[in-house]
């Protein structure tokens, strides 16, 4: 049982793909609009009163961060409410654990599906912002691998949380007290490190900050050694929470029979 059986991982991904193929209009489409509203409201509304932000026209400053937020939301909805319902209400994992697919493969398959949602949302938004001329550099295609990493990060964090909480109500805490501050203080809406001055390092704790900085650098075609630090930080946090997800999942399934 040490190795990963890839057909098992794929079967989890395909399970979700099949379920969503029936209801994507209701379950996938609405989440897509949130960053669109931000782009229109802030980009055109607030942007009308602001000449420049971080040395860029405001919509151009805003676009990469909104792509990162779209990716974060995609993975987060999937790894919180949906995973929780599958686990506790529909008992999907109880059923799957009676087949050759094991716990590692379930967690990995779910993460890959959440990443898929991140890439769909983030990718769609990347296309839209590019069409509006808000993404200047050709290097912006490198945002796609960063979308995968952002999806991995928030899938892993979301699942670790979902497998640890006793009641579904706690997701409002996760979204309001965790994801919302991450988003607001992520460098998306204003250059946070400039405002923090000598406390600039505090922003580096926020994993979304690194996703936004990477995406903005690629969108502008800028390269620096800081990008390696960004990649390393995101990967380290994601791997840590992936491990934690598996640990919490095992704890859950080893509870007494009900």
């Amino acid at each position: 049982m040490k190795f990963i059986w890839w057909p098992g991982v794929k079967s989890i991904w395909r399970r979700n793909a099949l379920m969503y193929s029936k209801t994507w209009m209701l379950n996938l489409l609405p989440n897509f609009f949130e960053p669109v509203f931000f782009l229109i409201g802030l980009g055109l509304g607030v942007g009308y009163y602001i000449q420049q932000m971080g040395g860029l026209p405001y919509p151009v400053f805003l676009a990469p961060g909104l792509i990162a937020i779209a990716a974060m939301n995609g993975a987060s909805f999937e790894s919180t409410y949906n995973v929780y319902v599958r686990m506790n209400y529909n008992r999907v994992y109880d059923g799957i654990l009676a087949t050759p697919v094991n716990d590692k493969e379930i967690v990995l398959g779910e993460i890959l599906w959440a990443i898929t949602r991140s890439v769909i949302y983030g990718g769609a938004f990347l296309v839209i912002t590019t069409l509006f001329g808000l993404v200047p550099s050709f290097w912006a295609f490198m945002i796609i691998p960063v979308l995968i990493l952002t999806g991995y990060l928030f899938a892993a964090i979301g699942m670790a949380f979902s497998f640890s909480i006793p009641a579904i109500d706690l997701f409002s805490v996760y979204f309001t007290l965790f994801l919302t501050p991450l988003m607001i203080f992520s460098d998306t809406f204003f250059p946070i490190q400039e405002r923090l001055g000598s406390w600039a390092w505090v922003a580096e704790v926020n994993p979304l900050f690194h996703c936004v900085r990477l995406m903005r650098d690629f969108a502008m075609g800028r390269f620096s050694s800081v990008m390696i630090w960004d990649l390393a930080y995101i990967t380290a946090v994601a791997v840590l929470f992936h491990w934690l997800s598996l640990k919490q999942f095992r704890k859950r399934i080893h509870q007494p029979a009900r």
Partner: protein, 245 residues
């Protein structure tokens, strides 16, 4: 005959709670073996140890001569499991449920379709197999769960309280179907607290209470041994008449 499953001194503790406390039994090939006990006796915990999701706290458990925790994936390929509560995707059809189940085993679409058609027909679901599962009655849902459990042609089928919550008509149909499945050579391990079900289906059975086996034998043998009218009387004699709440 050589047993398909053997448990020796098997136990599972949850902190101070001894859910299963040193039980030993074996299931022969082709046999229907019953696990009887009141609610909370340790039936489901035992089933969960057999399909490997709960590692035992102590003792030995071998299925198909393989140690369960070490060779779990191999064992699960040859095992069918039907849970106490139906685990079905209700918004999609029976076909889609079978397709997802088959993929967990790595089967291709062609095999799933052929085997699925055979099973849905046998379990009288084929006519409505394209409908979403939430249209189904309780009996149909349970039969679909059994069809899912048989998709991989298991050598041993685990049934955890298969007829709980079904009306008598649905129960009798299910018993007939389980009889057919057994006749085709599938070994069955079944938990139940319906004595009539155990008398009807089981070749041998054990009565389990507070995590321990308190009696074992054939349904007939137990009735004779305890000098009771039927198995239900034996069961109440053994486990007492107090409510388990």
């Amino acid at each position: 005959m050589h047993p398909i499953l053997t448990a020796k001194n098997l136990s599972r503790h949850f902190n101070s709670l001894k859910a299963v406390d040193g039980i030993g039994f074996s299931v022969a090939k082709g046999e229907c073996f019953g696990f009887l006990g009141p609610n909370g006796a340790g039936k489901t915990t035992t089933i969960k140890m057999i399909y490997g999701v709960l590692p035992p706290s102590g003792g030995e458990l071998h299925i198909f001569d393989l140690p369960v925790q070490e060779r779990l994936r191999e064992i699960k390929r040859r095992l069918g499991v039907v849970m106490q509560k139906d685990i079905l995707e209700e918004t999609v059809s029976a076909w889609d449920n079978m397709l997802m189940q088959g993929r967990y085993y790595g089967f291709d679409k062609k095999y799933i379709h052929e085997r699925g058609k055979y099973l849905l027909e046998m379990l009288a679901l084929l006519d409505r197999a394209d409908e979403p599962v939430f249209h189904y009655s309780g009996g149909m849902k349970r039969r679909l769960s059994i069809a899912k459990g048989l998709l991989n042609e298991p050598e041993l089928l685990l049934l955890d309280e298969p007829t709980t919550g079904l009306d008598p008509q649905a129960r009798h149909l299910l018993w007939a179907k389980l009889g057919e499945i057994k006749k085709k050579g599938t070994s069955i391990l079944l938990t139940t607290h319906y004595m009539h079900e155990a008398e009807f289906l089981c070749d041998r059975l054990v009565v389990i209470d507070h995590g321990k086996i308190i009696a074992e034998g054939t349904p007939k043998g137990l009735v004779e041994k305890y000098g009771c009218k039927n198995l239900e009387e034996v069961f109440l004699e053994l486990t007492g008449r107090d409510l388990r709440e």
